[in-house]
């Protein structure tokens, strides 16, 4: 696991997981601009297809194990945990 590529919230969440192979984490994957075929295949295996060539931020639901694998890829810049938002009405 390359902790320099994962944000604080994701590092905290990974620390608490019991089953590292359970797909528990909704994340953003920030990549280098140009991806080789191995990288694209990795993303396809995660259910991600690039819709435009310029896309460098992807979303996926993954396990802690996959996060570890992703963090070790040189084409991955960083990984961020999705946060839960709220509606902004009063009451």
């Amino acid at each position: 696991m390359n902790y320099q590529k994962i944000d604080a919230a994701l590092a905290m969440a990974i620390n608490q997981v019991e089953n590292p192979y359970q797909r528990l984490f909704i994340i953003f994957i920030h990549t280098q601009p140009i991806l080789e075929s191995t990288a694209e295949n990795f993303l396809i295996d995660l259910g991600i297809r690039k819709t435009t060539e310029a896309e460098t931020v992807f979303t996926a639901t993954v396990s802690a194990h996959t996060i570890s694998e992703l963090s070790d890829q040189n084409w991955v810049k960083h990984l961020k945990l999705s946060q839960r938002l709220r509606f902004v009405n009063q009451g």
Binding site: A9, H30, S82, Q83, R86, N89
Partner: protein, 581 residues
């Protein structure tokens, strides 16, 4: 007199007249259906709703001057001398008597305050036709008459299904299948109505815009997918589009560098606009700021209510060139050690105090913006996933600056109750409370203006909210961003706004105006007002990009008693004035 049959307002008026004579009814004339006599020889009369047995014959009451407009039905209207209310109440078949209300054109209050009727008079052709308004929210009531025939499709992310190209989850619904998706929350229907309703007395800003709805599961990664989806639909149809996001959070850097904001920036452009609510933390001390002197410690205090919060988080950000060590002190005096930045290994550590469990994460600089982010999680005593509430009382976040220069620290509180943990003391900062996605550079970020504080509920009762009228709503979150960029952009009416009521949602009757409309407040309500306006602008010029839209809105906004072009961290560039848009 059967007092319990009269509604409170009516009983009050009756008793005032009994005590003080007809003159007392003048005060009530303002709101009740009271008809003052033309001469002093005639009695004051009143118009009322009468709830009675459906087929009962009430014609015998005419000898008391009580005239009914209907001879049958369970709700009838009547015209009678005010003193005859006593006889009316004695009638066994009558269950309830309510006053007729003097109505005002309240439904147009929001529009009037921003001169929208004048704009529409000048530009009757601008209705939002040919523009897509995307609403990423709690869904929509697809059968509400306000949207009939204009909901193109719904991506319900909460339903099981194969999803769409932008996200392999949820179900995409069109046509007859739209009704499978439900808005049990009601927020999304209300928001969509503000932007695009074409029904009844509460018309939206863009009543002919088409709607693409995403019912979100509230994960910001899936909201990002939703933005991509809506713009993809718009690409396919060759239409300009504006996406409304009346949602937000505070687990980000508050500088627009978060992932959702980056995706919004990448997705927006000519004919592709995102409009966000600024947030409703104007009254809440969720943000603390301090300059931590070199080689010094600093303490920030925050209050946790007893027995409420299951988890409390602190989200702290400071410059990447500095390094702070972080510690926590519980209300009972138990402390963690100071934890330094760990740039290489696992930056997360757990501490079990006598009264709590604490995790502190202190990684190296965040790759997105180069700043340091630390995260603190506090849970009550327990084990594994099971824990009691977080200990109530005053907690301390202690920081130690080991570097040779001073550093500014910003921290935000989050909790699982929706907002009950707040900073106290000198570190409280009433600013920098606009988080993602409102913090996105390209998003149009909207503050709330209070255009109305009273409305009539479904039971005929007048409701008044404790807000100051005709000014920026006190709950509207303040900017600027953490990097001092100016946000919000503009203010629009956000309280109290009457809009479409989802038939699938349960609201307290005091909020319901009638069977189709509901009163809500928030920057959630202000944002779709501007989204609707943007739809009108895009209809006129489909190539407007975010910067152009913001410039147009800025040039047509103002803050009362301030020079043109002034910026304020609560108002943005001020209340929109649409008259000459």
């Amino acid at each position: 007199m059967r007092h319990q049959k009269l509604s409170p307002g009516l009983l009050l008026a009756f008793e005032d007249v009994q005590r003080e004579g007809d003159e007392a009814s003048i005060a009530h004339k303002r709101s009740l259906g009271i008809v003052l006599p033309k001469t002093s020889t005639k009695p004051t009369r009143i118009v009322v709703f009468v709830y009675c047995d459906e087929d009962t014959d009430l014609s015998h009451l005419s000898e008391f001057g009580i005239e009914f407009n209907q001879s049958q039905g369970s709700v009838r209207t009547a015209y009678l001398p005010i003193n005859a209310l006593e006889r009316l109440s004695e009638e066994p078949a009558i269950h309830r008597v309510k006053p007729s209300r003097k109505l005002e054109m309240r439904m147009d209050t929001a529009s009037e305050k921003v001169y929208l009727p004048q704009f529409k008079q000048k530009h009757p052709e601008l209705t939002g036709k040919g523009v897509i308004i995307g609403v990423v929210d709690s869904g929509i009531d697809p059968q509400h008459p306000a949207f009939k025939g204009r909901i193109l499709q719904i991506w319900d992310q909460t339903l099981p299904g194969p999803g769409v190209a932008e996200g392999a989850y949820g179900a995409e619904l069109k046509g007859d299948l739209l009704k499978i998706s439900q808005d049990n929350n009601g927020h999304g229907t209300h928001v969509a109505g503000i932007a695009a309703s074409d029904h009844g007395e509460f018309c939206g800003v863009a009543p002919e815009a088409q709607l693409v709805i995403v019912k979100t599961d509230m994960q910001d990664a899936h909201i990002a997918d939703a933005v991509r989806y809506i713009f993809s639909v718009a690409d396919h149809m060759g239409c300009p589009a504006v996406v409304n996001l009346s949602l937000g959070g505070h687990a980000d850097a508050h500088d627009g560098s978060d992932s959702l904001s980056q995706i919004i920036n990448a997705q927006t452009g000519p004919g592709r606009i995102v409009c966000c609510a600024a947030g409703n933390e104007g009254n809440d001390n969720i943000h603390a700021q301090a300059v931590v002197k070199s080689k010094n410690n600093h303490t920030m205090r925050f209050q946790v209510p007893p027995h409420q919060a299951g988890i409390v988080w602190l989200n702290g950000w400071y410059d990447g060139d500095s390094e702070l060590e972080i510690a926590l002190r519980s209300p009972n005096g138990f402390v963690t050690p100071f934890q330094a930045v760990n740039s290489k290994g696992n930056p997360a550590k757990q501490y079990k105090l006598f009264d709590s469990r604490i995790e502190i994460v202190t990684p190296g600089p965040d790759p997105a913006n180069g700043d340091h982010n630390f995260f603190v999680q506090i849970r009550g005593q327990g084990w594994g996933r099971f824990s009691g509430p977080v200990t109530g009382g005053v907690w301390q976040l202690r920081v130690r600056n080991t570097a040779c220069k001073d550093v500014r620290l910003d921290v935000w509180t989050l909790d699982d109750t929706g907002g009950s943990v707040f900073f106290t003391g000198k570190s409280v900062s009433d600013a920098v409370k606009i988080g993602s996605p409102a913090a996105a550079k390209s998003s149009v970020t909207v503050a709330s203006y209070t255009s109305k504080v009273k409305y009539i509920d479904i039971d005929g009762e007048e409701r008044e909210m404790g807000l100051e009228l005709d000014t920026i709503s006190e709950f509207s979150s303040e900017g600027p961003l953490r990097n001092n960029e100016q946000k919000p952009d503009v203010a629009a009416p956000g309280a109290m706004i009457i809009s479409a009521l989802s038939s699938q949602a349960n609201f307290n009757r005091s909020m319901v105006h009638n069977s189709e409309f509901l009163a809500l407040a928030g920057t959630s309500m202000a944002a779709p007002f501007i989204s609707g306006l943007i739809a009108l602008l895009l209809q006129r010029n489909p190539n407007l990009d975010p910067a152009s839209i913001k410039e147009i809105l800025k040039n047509h906004s103002s803050i009362p008693e301030q020079a043109a072009g002034s910026f304020d961290r609560k108002w943005g560039f001020g209340l929109i004035n649409t008259e000459n848009l």
